[in-house]
Amino acid sequence: MDYTNNDGKQPEEVLQLIYGDCALGIHGKDFHYIFSYQFGGPESLVIDGREWLYRVPKPTFWRATTDNDRGNKFSLKSGMWLSADMFIDCIGIKVFVDTKEIELPLAPVNNRYSEQEKAREVKIKYTYQTITVPATIVEVEYVVSISGEIKVTVHYHGKTGLPELPVFGMRFIVPTKAVKYRYEGLSGETYPDRREGGIPGIYEIEGLPVTPYLVPQDCNVHVATKWLEVYRNTTLNNSVKQENSFGLRFSGVDQDFAFSCLPYTSEELENATHQEELPPARRTVISILGAVRGVGGINSWGADVEPPYHIDAGKDISYSFSVLKL
């Protein structure tokens, strides 16, 4: 396919593809992405020279046990998802260039390519298998377009026999701590069964607050969000001394999403019995969520969350969002 035009004008913007032996590089005007085969996910999202990924994003299945979860023994029933959240196997990768699937370009297949590979759109689809019993599948597609925007489509395959989910979504761990985030959605910390008091608007949250519940637990979820922008002013790049604020934007595609933006993973929160036991905040953990369990409130020693606010692990969950530079 020829991406240069013949009338002597500027070359059209295209994606440059680097068919590496272990990863697929995608280069655009002001971004460079690396989709890893060996680590089973995108390993690098560099925008305007700044790295946004610390480790490859993975599906997330766990929220740090709330007092209510503990009281109604939810964690005893659904604890399997904690290990699923920590350990997950990537069992398949597919690559589509301009909507056509290509043979997975691992070595030596990739020898057929050159240093001048171009495309308008690239899709990488990772298939994950959980370590739950029974196991189930999550597919995550990243569609990279010329602008650098990445559309992420996540599909959880429901499986009979699995316990209810605390949460389902994608977790992005960012190398350094964000300075603030903005979003359009509801005020405050909201959950599916605690959102009526949330006032729609655009909100800016300074720092990366962890709601200081006596026992650290899931917090700062924001349901019904249209978009989220996360801002940093640091990187781990030792050659860069100072940075101005720069940001990344997540937008719902066709539907709103829920998110949390915290300096900790759910496992870090889970392990602490007091706020002061949490480690120094050094990263940003962005969870873009397709399903959230309610928090409940009838009591804290047995009453379950009301039925509409459970997540049935036997049913499929699908949602999409886009990631783009600010």
Partner: protein, 628 residues
């Protein structure tokens, strides 16, 4: 009279030489002092006291009240405050279990077979700490030559008092004022006040509230002098008539006097200073001003807490003004008609919250500023009612509720949770107070004191018999006392849910805690006897308060569902310095090597322990705002 250590063990001894409970009215020497906000009749004894801690009564300095006792080896402690927070005894949080669980086998006196007086149960035990407090003071000029009373606003949990070597009295009931007449023994200079506070007594069986278990003088200590003619007790009964536009006022006074009394003048003024009631009566020990109609009154209610000022002026025979008593009153009416609670004739909706008195710095020793902050939070979030869970609060709180139009469920200091519910199961084999006759007066006295002290507060709509104490003849007797004393308010108690035998004789309302919406519907759909309220719901432990809508929707569906009180207002946790980082952190049950404990169960607030609002508060504000 000598103090006896076995008072601690005897449920029938709970007040010795204590003055009868009376209304919480302020009184002044003159109009000028009232206007200036000064009161020369009062002398605070707050501040630094000498102090000695002992692990049990055997080890205590039992002669420390003697005037010649050398207290050189005593420490200093700040009054008011909890002894544990001063570093003497282990901080301990536990919910329903008695705090000696797993340490000591104890059964209440006369429980089980009804015969065992359990002698020595608290007085002869390895662990029952004692705080020995000494305060030396001179009388301030305004108190000289007058009758002098000492008022302890709150001492946990049993207290002996001596003045100048003489035994003055003994008191239990940690959360109401304990007052003693010092007149026979007080002198101008160098009075030596000795207070011996025991961590536990039989009162411990009645004070099993879900909170940190503290002891000590944790509320203010005040001396007051009575003018020679004195209003000992005031009961003003403003009544709002059915038209919500007119009313009446009845006033009962108990007086004491050392000289020939003259007259008492009682005036009621509205908010603009217009006199709408003006009566003069000759002073006697009992003064009863029969109801007088007032043609036009402005009702008191949430968002419009219109208060009138009652002014009582006491004159001697010569017509000299001896005492001035002001009290703010509102006109309102609470009643049940057709099984619906009506407030000023309209269906009452309780958008309430339970509130423990709590400060992360001082425990249950909270400041005026903290109370005002709480009131601000309550008003800001459309909360209209407070249950004083589970004991009478500091007196200023009730005045704040009067002034701010907040409805109060005034709870008596009673909870015996661990005596009838064990590991979540109802098991009342040794329940107190139950129907054990030897425990009756102790709990009836708590009800009486609650009533007598707070009866003039407009904000109080409900008397509550206590919390989670099962049901028996003794709680029935408390109910009876309130009904006999006060026909103008409703009586609340939840415990009959667990013992239906008493449902016709205890509580005007069907009260539950943590009933699911379905259970409420179940009750209301099956010939309900009483209007329904939730004395506790929406347990806001950690990240919670989901599903509130299901409860609020019931308000639209059933007139007899009349709302409830969220559990609860503030997380109970304490500021400590982190042993690792040196930072100020919050600690909860189990963080002090306290075992057994219920750990983080102490934190269920809609505000954090530092009084910042939890994220869930916007949900409260929204829903309570819909039903204002």
């Amino acid at each position: 009279m000598r103090a006896e250590i076995h008072y601690l063990d005897n449920p029938e001894v709970f007040r010795v030489n204590q003055l009868p409970a009376h209304s919480d009215h302020a009184f002044y020497y003159s109009r000028e002092e009232l206007q200036a906000g000064e009161n020369s009749l009062l002398q605070t004894l707050n501040g630094s006291w000498k102090f000695h801690y002992s692990i049990n009564s055997e080890k205590r300095p039992s002669e420390f009240y003697q005037e010649n006792f050398s207290s050189d080896d005593f420490d200093e402690i700040t009054v008011p405050g909890h002894i544990e927070l001063a570093g003497y005894d282990k901080i301990h949080y536990i919910n329903t279990m008695y705090p000696w669980e797993g340490h000591l086998f104890r059964r209440p006196a006369y429980s089980l077979d009804g015969k065992n007086p359990a002698e020595g149960s608290f007085s002869q035990t390895d662990y029952n700490p004692v705080g020995s407090y000494l305060k030396t003071f001179d009388l301030e000029p305004g108190l000289l030559g007058k009758r002098v009373v000492i008022s302890f606003a709150g001492v946990e949990q049993a207290m002996y008092v001596w003045l100048n070597g003489k035994f003055i009295g003994y008191a239990e009931d940690s959360f109401t004022p304990s007052e003693f007449d010092l007149t026979p023994y007080i002198r101008e200079k160098a009075n030596v006040l000795a207070v011996e506070v025991h961590k536990r007594s039989t009162a411990a069986f009645l004070e099993d509230q879900d909170f940190f278990r503290f002891f000590g003088i944790f509320r203010e200590v005040t001396l007051y002098a009575k003018p020679d003619i004195h209003v000992e007790d005031l009961w003003a009964k403003p009544y709002l008539k059915e038209d919500n536009a007119s009313g009446s006022l009845e006033v009962e006074l108990k007086m004491s006097y050392l000289e020939m009394p003259g007259e008492v003048r009682v005036v009621l003024q509205d908010g603009q200073g217009n006199v709408c009631y003006d009566q003069v009566e000759e002073i006697a020990e009992q003064v009863h001003l029969m109801p007088v109609d007032i043609s036009s009154v402005t009702p008191w209610h949430y968002q419009s807490p219109y208060l009138y000022t009652l002014m009582i002026e006491v004159f001697d025979k010569a017509g000299r003004l001896i005492e001035v008593v002001p009290y703010k009153l509102g006109f309102r009416r609470i009643e049940i008609k057709d099984k619906i609670i009506l407030f000023n004739g309209e269906r009452l909706i309780l958008n309430g919250v339970n509130r423990h008195e709590w400060s992360a710095k001082g425990g249950r020793c909270i400041s005026r500023e903290e109370m005002e902050a709480d009131m601000g939070t309550i008003l800001e979030n459309n909360i209209n009612a407070v249950r004083t869970s589970h004991y009478p609060n500091q007196i200023p709180w009730y005045y704040l509720c009067d002034e701010n139009g907040i409805y109060v469920m005034a709870e008596t200091n009673l909870e015996s949770h661990g005596s009838w519910q064990k590991m979540g199961q109802v098991e009342p084999s040794w329940n107190v107070p139950g129907s054990i006759v030897q425990w009756r007066e102790a709990v009836v006295d708590r009800a009486r004191t609650n009533f007598e002290v707070f009866k003039n507060h407009t904000s109080i709509l409900f008397w509550s018999l206590g919390n989670e104490s099962y049901a028996g003849d003794n709680i029935e007797a408390m109910n009876r006392l309130f009904k006999e004393k006060d026909t103008s308010r409703l009586v609340h108690y939840e415990g009959v849910f667990h013992n239906r035998k008493y449902e016709d004789t205890i509580s005007d309302v069907e009260s539950r805690m943590y009933a699911t919406p379905e259970e409420i519907i179940e009750y209301l759909e099956h010939e309900p006897k009483k209007p329904f309220i939730l004395c506790e719901y929406m347990h806001d432990m950690g990240n919670s308060l989901g599903g509130m809508k299901s409860y609020m929707d019931l308000l639209d569906r059933y007139d007899m569902y009349q709302g409830g009180f969220i559990w609860d207002f503030i997380d109970q946790a304490l500021f400590v310095t982190d042993e690792i980082t040196g930072g100020r952190v919050l600690r909860y049950g189990g963080d002090f090597d306290d075992r057994p404990s219920d750990y983080e169960f102490s934190g269920n607030g809609i505000v954090f322990a530092d009084r910042t609002q939890k994220p869930a508060m916007q949900e409260v504000r929204y829903f309570y705002g819909l039903y204002k």
